[in-house]
Amino acid sequence: MSVGRLAVTRDALALEPLIAALEREAQARGEGCGAVCTFVGVVRKTHAGRPVRHLEYEAFEPLALRAFEAIAGEISAQWPGSTAAIHHRIGRLEPGQSSVLVVAAAAHRDEAFQVCRYAIERVKQIAPIWKHEFFEDGDAWVEGALCAPDDEDARREARARACA
């Protein structure tokens, strides 16, 4: 496969090749996927009303890949037959640029939506990737919860958000 499913990269993200790769994989494996759900995170112009000049994403890259692998494993266990891809960009990003892509492929749309939502929730929860916002008049690290991949409450919450 020319496009790796899980990646942390300084390059611009591209959605179509990732979708194509998952579709080829699903076709090769069996009946092919019938539904693809994707999520793209985009840098906004403002945060809480303050104009954003740019962002810097910093990652502990090998551990981020391990986190993505853990998420892919959780997905395979809960939604057998589905596949997910996760690409996160790091470095300097301008408003309008994409910071993260998730692609989920499954036989039916219910599953595709659930897998995609679960994946992005888990990425935000456990991937060691930090966002540094630069405003006209200062900067701020965006910090939420403790990065704890084994925390069952967090997994439950991600599942709840994914499954209506």
Partner: protein, 85 residues
């Protein structure tokens, strides 16, 4: 014994460097490495409650034992807990 320490994001900025080495006694845990680090950078101490860690590029608990030459990474909170909605 000596272990390698990696720091990220806000912790890196506060310490002023992204890597260093710490001397800890035999039988030390990652928590002991953190305490040794805080002894050198007092301003890191308030982050002890929210820090998580990795050992040799895999997730670990603060209670995990370390060995000579291990690489310990300290991670500030990630964005996922923030409730924007």
């Amino acid at each position: 014994m000596r272990v390698k320490v990696q720091l990220f994001a806000r912790l890196r900025e506060i310490a002023g460097h992204d890597a260093c080495e710490c001397e800890v006694p035999a039988g030390a845990s990652i928590a002991d490495v953190w305490r040794a680090l805080c002894a050198r950078h007092a301003s890191l101490e308030p982050f002890g409650r929210t820090v998580s860690c990795a050992l040799n590029e895999d997730f670990a608990r603060m209670s995990a034992p370390v060995r000579e030459g291990d690489a310990v990474a300290f991670l500030p909170p990630v964005s996922g807990g923030a409730r924007v909605n």
